[in-house]
Amino acid sequence: MRIPCPICGSRDIREFDYMGHAQALDRPDPGAGAQAWDDYLHNRDNPAGPTRDLWFHGMGCGAWLVVERDTVSHEVTGATLARDVKGGAA
């Protein structure tokens, strides 16, 4: 697998650390209640097919990326800087 880092270009997967589904960017309100926080922290759609997850380019530019890829074929179709996604509707 290679990840197309928007800053560094196409890089080997070994340069990145994985942090799970990009739902981590949609942090609920502190007062949103136990159910919302449980959903956020623990529950996952866990899709077989297209997904969006967070990768950290630790051995490159140090940016957090939202990577679009397929969990069945391992195909990577795109990557965006997480800071451009965060808080947005994406």
């Binding site: 799970g20 449980d38 996952r44 759609d45 866990n46 077989a48 969990t71 391992h74």
Partner: protein, 417 residues
């Protein structure tokens, strides 16, 4: 058809013409009392114990592929009871005891081999942690021996004891641990369940779960609708998808774990040896192949195959621990889909839907659990209350924060186990 030494001998002398299929291949009936989704080790053992211990037989196990095609036939076959935390401790202890009687119980050779599991340590801190774990194991009634460096050397002289990064300080030895033939475990339970009237239906994918007024009424499958009073979900890496059919989102992320086997060699590795610091463990199969593996690839995946970086990492760790392995040639490698839970411990529980039960979250350690998981899940389904050995495997522990079982002490968070 019972197996015995005499039977094997007679068949061998008469051209093996007397063997029959070990289980029937029935078409699904329109209705059962209990439907088990998933014909892996856990689904098959659940059906077996439902019939054996609760006198139920109007049961179907629905398997989308073939028996043994999932993780139960892909794992590295290690069986052990060396957990430290209440909840896991009594459960895996229960499981190991069931393993010890399994071949007699099933009249099936599952090649259970209590060759001993040896975990290596490489620092004072790790040795202290092992001492604590060993005490927890002994308190649970299981066996644990703390070995110093010389003790480890007596058992496994072929390791590199003086590696500069990870010199061997000692080890935690668990003599009753070992390995079993994984396919045979699936086949043995399938045969045992079938013999007690359970229908094992292969090539039957569940595509929907029917719910009426908060109560499960049956399932939709690739072979038609099947009504059922109770339904158990036991689909390991596919838990997320099947639970979604009932409108549930689970605390599970599916990840890939790889394994490797070399060409057959003469006996060289007598135990199961684990090198946690290097992410590597190994044993030798009865056929002679060195069976080994390491960590997850560490990204969500349903591919049943891994990538090269983790393969390289595992090979490097192998060479670090036992340079002698450099002469062996890898024959095959493969991957399985692991149902990773946030705290690394499993879930055996009811759901908010009446009659729908859930068994998942086995991470990379569910083979050793096959007997107890089926035993406890059957108890839960039949009696609607948890088996004493599995009271803590609750689904709501993540929401409430009560009773988390984070065996590694890394935090009850995805991607840390």
């Amino acid at each position: 058809m019972r197996f015995s030494g005499l039977r094997v001998l007679t068949e061998g002398l008469t051209g093996n013409r007397g063997w029959r299929p070990h289980w029937r291949d029935p078409d699904p009936r329109p209705e059962y009392d209990i439907v088990i989704i998933g014909g892996g080790g856990h689904g098959l053992s659940t059906a077996y114990y439902l019939a054996r211990e609760h006198g139920l037989s109007n049961i179907a196990v629905l398997e989308k592929g073939y028996i043994g095609g999932g993780n139960v036939g892909r794992n590295t076959t290690i069986v052990r009871a060396n957990y430290g935390l209440p909840g896991n401790s009594e459960f895996y202890s229960h499981s190991l005891k069931l393993w010890e009687g399994l071949e007699q119980e099933l009249n099936y050779n599952v090649m259970m081999s209590q060759r001993g599991v040896l975990n290596l340590c490489h620092s004072d801190g790790q040795r202290d942690a092992f001492a604590r774990r060993a005490n927890a194991m002994v308190n649970q009634g299981d066996d644990a021996i703390l070995l110093d460096r010389a003790g480890v050397r007596r058992l496994v002289p072929y390791l590199d004891f003086d590696n500069i990064r990870f010199p061997i300080y000692g080890g935690l030895y668990h003599p009753r641990g070992g390995t079993a033939r994984h396919d045979a475990v699936a086949w043995g339970y399938a045969r045992g369940a079938d013999g007690r009237g359970v229908d094992i239906v292969q090539n039957c994918e569940v595509t929907g779960i029917d719910i009426d007024n908060g109560r499960v009424t049956g399932v939709q499958t690739s072979r038609g609708a099947i009504r059922a009073k109770k339904v158990g979900i036991v689909v390991a890496g596919r838990s997320g998808q099947v639970a979604a059919m009932a409108g549930m989102r689970l605390p599970v992320e599916s990840h890939i774990l790889q394994a490797f086997v070399t060409e057959g060699l003469k006996p060289v590795i007598d135990h199961v040896v684990t090198f946690g610091m290097g992410h590597f463990y190994i044993s030798q199969s009865d056929k002679g192949g060195l069976v080994f593996g390491g960590d997850l690839d560490f990204y969500a995946s349903y591919a049943q195959r891994g990538n090269l970086p983790m393969q390289e990492h595992v090979m490097e760790a192998a060479m670090t621990l036992m340079p002698v392995i450099g002469k062996a040639r890898v024959l095959r490698s493969w991957g399985g889909i692991m149902d990773m839970s946030p705290d690394g411990s499993p879930i055996i529980d009811r759901t908010h839907i009446d009659g729908l039960y859930l068994n998942c979250g086995w991470c990379y350690g569910g083979f050793k659990a096959v007997p107890a998981s089926g035993n406890c899940f059957a108890h839960l389904i039949a009696q609607d209350r948890p088996h004493p050995a599995a009271t803590r495997f609750r689904l709501d522990r993540f929401r409430t924060g009560v009773g988390l079982m984070d065996e590694e002490g890394t935090g009850a968070q995805h991607n840390l186990h």
